[in-house]
């Protein structure tokens, strides 16, 4: 199966850095309008599924918008000495500072990894307090959270187009029911893409299904993998039935996971 391991985003600064690197943007000349729009797109999806930490992203979105507005001012702002002020400057400094610590964190991770291979006496007793140490959910997810959000966004956008808002019926969907639904379909059909699972469904259905998939992935009941074109992700049962060896049922534009 095509799998790729990419890191989650730690917060709004991390997401901004991602955009900057992906688009080969000069940090000192960030196209704020463009970045702000893309950033907002993510925040809207995050709000809908009520992800933890969304407040930090909303704050950053507001900051981006205010910078965007300030850059549109007919007369540029000036500092005490009359020099023109770049409204982006403070944000850029924060981004650069964050980059330094992000790198330092990677360095620490390397030390930790190395040290983890060296066992001291009585190391066995450390097995129990281990519960206090973090279990990384990312280890289970082979796709990043933003990967998933990207897919969710796509389905939701489609759902919106299909279903005008005034027609939204008050049907409640809950995660437990959707868990059963996901497991049932995977059991019968084998690996499926998320879009195939949730296409043309009610928004509430899509979100509940998405959360159910996240939960199942965290528990190790399903594996997630990116599709090659990154526009969707594949949900596979942890132990795929022999009848569906690695075949993905769904509309993946002809791509098969192998």
């Amino acid at each position: 199966m095509y799998r790729i391991q990419i890191q989650d985003f730690e917060g709004p600064l991390d997401l901004l850095l991602f955009f900057i690197r992906r688009d080969e943007i000069d940090v000192h000349d960030i196209p704020i309008a463009h970045i702000a729009d893309e950033f907002l797109g993510y925040v809207r999806v995050m709000e809908q599924i009520d992800l933890d930490g969304v407040a930090d992203f909303i704050y950053m979105a507001a900051l981006l918008i205010s910078i965007k507005v300030r850059m549109l001012l007919p007369r540029p702002e000036v500092d005490d000495e009359g020099e023109p002020l770049d409204p982006r400057r403070e944000l850029v400094e924060r981004l650069l500072e964050y980059m330094r610590y992000k790198e330092a964190a990677q360095g620490l991770a390397a030390y930790h990894e190395q040290r983890g291979d060296l066992f001291t006496r009585g190391a066995a007793s450390a097995v129990h307090p281990d519960a206090a140490w973090e279990r990384e959910p990312e280890e289970i997810l082979n796709a990043s959270l933003f990967n998933l959000i990207g897919a969710l966004r796509r389905v939701l956008t489609e759902a919106d187009a299909d279903e005008p808002h005034h027609a939204v019926a008050a049907v409640e969907y809950d995660v437990a029911t959707q868990r059963a639904f996901v497991l049932d379909r995977l059991g019968r059909e084998g690996p499926l893409t998320f879009v195939a699972l949730a296409r043309h469904r009610h928004k509430g259905f899509v979100i509940a299904t998405f959360l159910a998939v996240l939960e199942l992935a965290r528990q190790g009941a399903v594996h997630l993998a990116r599709t090659p074109d990154a526009s969707d992700f594949i949900v596979a049962p942890a132990e795929p039935p022999a009848s569906a060896p690695g075949r993905v049922n769904g509309h993946v534009n002809g791509t098969t996971a192998s």
């Binding site: 890191q7 309008a33 850059m71 980059m99 097995v127 280890e139």
Partner: protein
């Protein structure tokens, strides 16, 4: 026949060698039995107490440890003595890690999440630091991360800032050194200068890697977006 002075010198050398052997035995036993790094001061004081001599100087302890490690290497021992957290600690070599991981089922042990590592990095380089400072650098609320770090003993409250509201100051604990295999925090590389980071080949590599993931942002039109980062509005 050896002259008296010859045999005298030989006897002296022998006595010295014997003493070094005894120091090595004591140092080895103490480091072996302790469940945390043992400082040179502790080792020297214990020696003084038992031998009824002055405390061993650090240099002699270092010599003994070096000799022990040489012997371990020659004799194929599965452990070495490391200098961690300002003291000495015995640990198995990397080569035998696979066996230990199986016995202790700790392949996935002690992974620290990125949020914990980031927070710890900020504390390690800037300590003492308040929660608002950490929050600002990370751009996210670090309440959980700080709490977790304190809980697992890698961070601690170290005082109060003089700033408005007198927020608590956090710092790293000596346990960090042991957990990361460092003798002192000053062994950490300096924070890199920003220009260095931007010109880093690894940065370009990551950029290339990220480019492959292009389109992630907006599946519908991502490709086009990414290729055209310039936006006329921004330059208005």
């Amino acid at each position: 026949m050896s002259t008296p002075s010859d045999s005298n010198g030989a006897a002296q050398a022998e006595a010295q060698q014997e003493r070094l052997e005894e120091v090595m035995r004591a140092v080895e036993a103490l480091i072996f039995a302790a469940d945390e790094p043992v400082t040179p001061a502790q080792l020297g004081a214990v020696w003084a107490d038992v031998a009824g001599e002055a405390p061993l100087p650090d240099a002699q302890i270092e010599t003994a440890v070096d000799r022990l490690n040489d012997r371990y290497a020659t004799d194929g021992r599965a452990f070495r003595i490391h200098r961690w957290a300002g003291g000495y600690r015995m640990a198995t070599t990397e080569e035998v890690a696979p066996y230990l991981k199986v016995l202790f089922q700790r392949d996935r042990r002690r992974r620290l999440s990125r949020s914990l590592l980031e927070t710890l990095a900020i504390l390690a380089y800037r300590q003492p630091a308040t929660k608002p400072e950490v929050d600002f650098v990370r751009g996210v609320d670090s309440d959980y991360a700080l709490r977790k770090l304190c809980e697992i003993g890698l961070a601690d409250v170290v005082g109060r800032s003089e700033a408005v509201g007198r927020p608590l100051l956090f710092g790293t604990t000596p346990r960090v050194l042991d957990a990361f295999g460092l003798d002192a925090l000053s062994d950490l590389p300096n924070l890199r200068e920003v220009e260095g980071l931007l010109n880093e080949p690894a940065y370009d590599q990551e950029r290339a890697r990220l480019l492959m993931l292009n389109g992630l942002g907006d599946p519908g039109e991502g490709g086009a977006d990414a290729g055209d980062p310039a936006d006329p509005e921004d330059h208005a």
